[in-house]
């Protein structure tokens, strides 16, 4: 089925074989986000090489995706890629290249003008409005500017992500302290975000992203507003989360970070993917 996505036609929409789509939908569509009370499973082995995972259903798939903003900006053109479960992916590129647009397409903040995106079994072309919150509960989103609610304590900020799922008070208490301990902020639960440093605030953001045990963590320049030392710590944390099985997609400008961590790198320039050192069979 790899050939379907490898034909390299220039038509924006590459109609996929129906059977392939059905397989994707069949295996993921019914998957509800779960909130296990138990800590995450023991560290999984290092991300499996792309060659091995190529036969599995990818967690994320872009097929001939185009994004043109209302003002006429061509932000992304003919993007084709696959990201498998358990991968750690850096997305790099110059300012204005289209990295944030790529992220917004994943979170369904923006819709593509052409092409198909499948995320965790949800097809973005046909996702129902009421399924969008469900999609977002399968991902933990980390923002450059942290996005904490200033009137809520650290605990409440993290708990909030679980409240929207209707989790019980008991499991909230358990999971939130677990997540805060992972990011090393167990003792700051009662503080307000304004009482924390930038790095600490971002770690709260990270705790919030992982508290629902999501399939993937999506981070758009999570280290953009913290000092270099803290940047390393945050990427270390993301690596740790990734080792436990969560897929991580991180946009960054810090080339040194990318070099030091040696993971898959997707490079975007002027809206097209110009380099990808591990695209699960869909590289062009």
């Amino acid at each position: 089925m790899n050939d379907i996505f490898n034909t390299g036609t220039d038509t924006p929409v590459t109609p996929p074989a129906a059977s392939a789509e059905d397989l994707i939908m069949g295996s993921f569509a019914s998957e509800e986000p779960t909130v296990p009370v138990q800590p995450a499973p023991p560290p999984a082995p290092q991300p499996v090489p792309a060659a091995v995972t190529a036969s599995q259903q990818p967690l994320i798939e872009f097929r001939g995706v185009y994004k043109v903003y209302d003002n006429g900006t061509h932000a992304l053109s003919d993007v084709n890629l696959k990201i498998h479960k358990g991968e750690f992916v850096f997305v790099v590129g110059a300012s204005g290249a289209g990295k944030s647009t790529f992220i917004k397409l994943l979170t369904h903040e923006e819709s593509p003008n052409a092409g198909e995106i499948v995320v965790n079994g949800y097809r973005m072309s046909s996702i129902r409005r009421r399924d969008v919150p469900k999609l977002r509960r399968t991902m933990g989103i980390v923002f450059q500017d942290f996005r904490l609610i200033p009137s809520m304590t650290v605990f409440e900020n993290v708990a909030f992500a679980m409240r929207v799922t209707g989790a019980s008070t008991r499991s909230i208490r358990k999971r939130v302290s677990y997540a805060l301990n992972i990011v090393g902020l167990g003792d700051k639960a009662r503080n307000l975000p304004t009482e924390l440093s930038g790095g600490e605030q971002q770690r709260v953001g990270l705790a919030r992203a992982l508290v629902n045990n999501p399939a993937m963590i999506i981070a758009d320049e999570p280290t953009g507003n913290v000092d270099p030392n803290m940047s390393y710590e945050i990427v270390e944390l993301l690596s740790e989360i990734n080792r436990r099985g969560t897929t991580v997609i991180m946009v960054t400008h810090e080339h040194q970070l990318v070099r030091d961590f040696g993971r898959r790198v997707i490079m975007i320039e002027h809206g097209t993917v110009v380099a990808d050192n591990g695209n699960g069979g869909a590289a062009r």
Binding site: K104, P133, I149, S151
Partner: protein, 304 residues
């Protein structure tokens, strides 16, 4: 929605009233102003309506009987009239009573004059008749005219009709004033909430990012609006009580007119205003939220 969620969201609604207390104060202020105006309109129209109603009750017609009838016969005819459709009451007034009434009207100076007439009373026997429903005034009068022994009727048809139309005019005006003030208060409260909504946009976007459904985002705002409305409803009833007490005291003193006691409608008004406040608050918060729940692209990032 799960029970734990509902409990949490209601708690958030209560909390928001306090967290955004300046907005709460502003909304309550606006609602209070509107509700007090509404209340004044309602109180006025209730009192005018009652006053006109009692005027109508006094607006009896007088039926005069033939002189050939004895007092006993006239009394029997009066009971016949009293039993007729649409007749509320028929009170027999004998010749003698009629003369007494005239004396009262004329006062002591002329009363002596009338004393000469006592032996040869020129007044006929009569009855004072009141109606149930003034809409059927004409047909009832016609029916009474046909009763044996009735010579003529002293009617004030046009006054009855005028009173009727004034009453319905006042009721109409009251209704439209209340409806208009309701629309105005919804609009102003929606706007007040919208102003703070702008500062809460960030919060709403974070909610969306972590996968909150629209209703999850909406419920605390609705609870908040409802609470503000209920509070305003209760306070405005209290304010109206004092306004009413103060103004009616002076009216009663200077005009010797009795007004409807506040207790007659206190409960109705309290419940009505609290309900109306709740509805206003919910509608206003839904209106002011709709813009932020609509998906307009870049929803997490369109915040700065």
């Amino acid at each position: 929605m799960k029970l734990s969620s509902i409990r949490y969201l209601i708690g958030e609604g209560f909390k928001n009233v306090w967290v955004h207390r300046f907005m709460s104060l502003a909304s309550v202020g606006v609602l209070l102003a509107c509700m007090v105006m509404m209340g004044v309109a309602i109180l006025l129209s209730v009192n005018v309506d009652t006053a006109l109603g009692s005027l109508q009750d006094q607006n009896a017609i007088v039926v005069f009987y033939s002189d050939e009838m004895t007092d006993e016969q006239a009394q029997i005819v009066t009971t016949t009239i009293a039993d007729m459709d649409n007749v509320k009451d028929a009170v027999f007034i004998s010749k003698a009573e009629g003369l007494e009434r005239q004396k009262e009207v004329l006062g002591s100076d002329y009363a002596a004059l009338l004393d000469y007439l006592e032996d040869d009373n020129p007044l006929p026997n009569a009855a004072q008749v009141t109606f149930e429903d003034l809409e059927q005034f004409d047909s009832t009068v016609l029916a009474i005219e046909k009763v044996q022994g009735v010579t003529h009727i002293n009617e004030q048809r046009d006054i009855a009709a005028k009173l009727n139309s004034i009453r319905s005019m006042i009721n109409n005006a009251g209704f439209w004033i209340v409806a208009l003030l309701f629309v105005i208060s919804v609009a102003i409260v929606a706007n007040t909430i919208r102003i703070t909504m702008f500062s809460r946009k960030r919060e709403i976007n974070i909610m969306k990012a972590v996968g909150a459904t629209d209703s999850f985002i909406r419920v605390p705002f609705m609870i908040e609006g409802m609470l503000l409305g209920i509070i305003s409803g209760a306070i405005s009833t209290g304010l109206l009580y004092f306004i009413y007490k103060a103004s009616t005291a002076s009216i009663e003193k200077s005009f010797g007119m009795t007004v409807v006691p506040f207790s007659d409608f206190a409960i109705k008004m309290l419940l009505g205003f609290m309900l109306m406040g709740a509805v206003t608050g919910v509608i206003a918060s839904l209106i002011s939220m709709s813009k932020y729940l609509r998906h307009e692209g870049s929803e997490f990032n369109a915040i700065t």
